[in-house]
Symmetry: C2
């Protein structure tokens, strides 16, 4: 590296950075107590010498994905992926025409699929997410996520991420935080696109997983995805997944449902300043309005003084 040109480059970057710092880092958030709670927390933990200062290495921020960073209606986007995979694989499985939950999927009968409950979902996942190598699966996800469109908005699914949350991720990273996803969704379903879309690299994605097995194929090592669930990163599994993958307790957590309750509790109970946030889906016009499975989390948010985002009131825009 030549010293002088590098210095000039850094000065240019600094200039740009200075300009951004003068501007609002969260332009899609309306002014109010929610936005204020976020910026006050970040200022408190990043002010050297302050009572709440946290060293950069310990500034771990974790985010749920479905319903927190991107939408999750009318069905989890990963379920839409599984449905499309069933359709793509159906020609090789004529028996699926008369076998649930595949019959329901092929006929578009979401009620029958829902009636199959958890077991049906597991059957779908093992039939559509396993049997290939990790690299083959990543390629399938990349193709799908780059082309499939949401049935109601017509947008790519990655265009249904929440603009205010993208700004929040960037704002936290600019303040020395390391940002992670901690989702009930499949870890290998998210990793192919989280870096591009959220700026979160694969090694900072925690999720549910199936087992993989190391094999030599024609002298080349591969990891084969097995039709067996290894870990469910949901509810009480979220603190377990955080501990396994991160090994530190987060100081900042955002979720949106009771599936995030234990992760929020785990974060909030740590010593020192902590931020626990909950997205509440209140905007039927621009997104979806639903309480869903979040009664416990909202009650605990109220009791514990957590920050609740009212999408309709707090967000200027929803999607990028």
């Amino acid at each position: 590296m030549h010293r002088i040109p590098a210095a000039i480059g850094l000065l240019a970057l600094l200039g740009a950075s200075g300009a951004v710092q003068g501007a609002d880092p969260l332009p899609s958030w309306n002014d109010g107590k929610t936005k204020q709670a976020i910026t006050e927390f970040v200022e408190a933990v990043t002010t050297p010498g302050g009572a709440d200062f946290v060293p950069p290495a310990e500034r771990i921020a974790v985010f749920d994905n479905d319903g927190t960073l991107w939408a999750e209606k009318p069905m989890y986007f990963q379920l839409a992926f599984a449905v499309d995979r069933v359709k793509a694989l159906a020609p090789g499985h004529p028996e699926w025409k008369e076998e649930q939950p595949f019959e329901a999927v092929l006929e578009g009968d979401m009620k029958a699929l829902a009636a199959g409950g958890h077991k049906a979902i597991l059957q779908l996942v093992t039939a559509t997410h396993a049997g290939n190598t990790t690299e083959e699966f990543a390629g399938i996800v990349e193709t799908w996520i780059g082309t499939a469109r949401h049935p109601e908005t017509g947008r790519l699914y990655t265009e249904m991420v929440y603009q205010p949350m993208l700004e929040l991720l960037t704002y936290l990273r600019a303040n020395g935080f390391k940002t992670f996803i901690v989702s009930g969704g499949g870890i290998e379903f998210m990793r192919p696109w989280t870096e591009r879309v959220y700026g979160i690299p694969p090694e900072q994605v925690v999720g549910s997983s199936i087992e993989t097995r190391f094999e030599m194929r024609d002298g080349e090592p591969v990891l084969v995805r097995l039709p067996k669930i290894s870990f469910i990163d949901d509810r009480e599994g979220k603190p377990v997944g955080i501990n396994l993958h991160i090994g530190r307790r987060p100081i900042f957590t955002f979720g949106n449902s009771d599936g995030d309750l234990e992760m929020l509790q785990w974060t909030a109970a740590g010593e020192g300043a902590r931020f626990a946030g909950l997205v509440h889906h209140t905007d039927g016009a621009r997104e979806y309005a639903y309480d869903g499975d979040s009664a416990k989390a909202r009650a605990e948010a109220e009791a514990g003084g957590w920050t609740v985002v009212d999408m309709k009131e707090d967000w200027k825009t929803i999607y990028p």
Copy 2:
């Protein structure tokens, strides 16, 4: 941040960095083909526009721990920890005086312990590494690692890390690599001290693990360590662990035994420039001389042109 002082600070850093670049980044490595293989690889993957250039985000380097970053004789240091834990817990377990493998440990009969094989080790691990919370266990490890001393050198175990490997870790990070440990050792045995000793934070440590369970105790959430093995991060488990925790294939790997063979194969088989390195323990005077369980890895290193470190020839100093 004020713009001008920050710019001056950055220029000062640049100056310092320029000075370091002029010096040898690997002063404890003797000049020769091993050191050259390392520096040539790093230059190749970091030269913008070069045929082998790798973007920083993909510069993943993984290191085995026992025998690669620190010594492992006369027994794995984590086994020494387990032995000390048995002695500390023995007053509460009078039955251990007549029950293997505890009897062997309490009588210092390492032959009888070894005769118990894998089963005895598992019994030791579950008896000494479980039953407490993750935070309690981290505290126990920190106390032990800060006081226990090696039976032959009298050093703290963390003073038996390899100085040349510390320099290599620093050199790689200075060149944009993200450094990880991928060890058969316990993930929660390593995490309390890897950041201080190796500069590797908890979220970049991959290892074997036992199961944990989220619980509320007196209204406070805790993670309880259960006496059940969850994952063995060894041999074919290492690529599986890398995929689960990192989600990218490393471009640089260092190991020392057949326990690292699959990880080395997985790395070497990737597209583009790859570095696969093997530490060979050839220095009976300054460390230990043994081939141990590394015949397959050494044969494959020879066939595949991997880099083999001859500790006696290649390293000027062993410990810091």
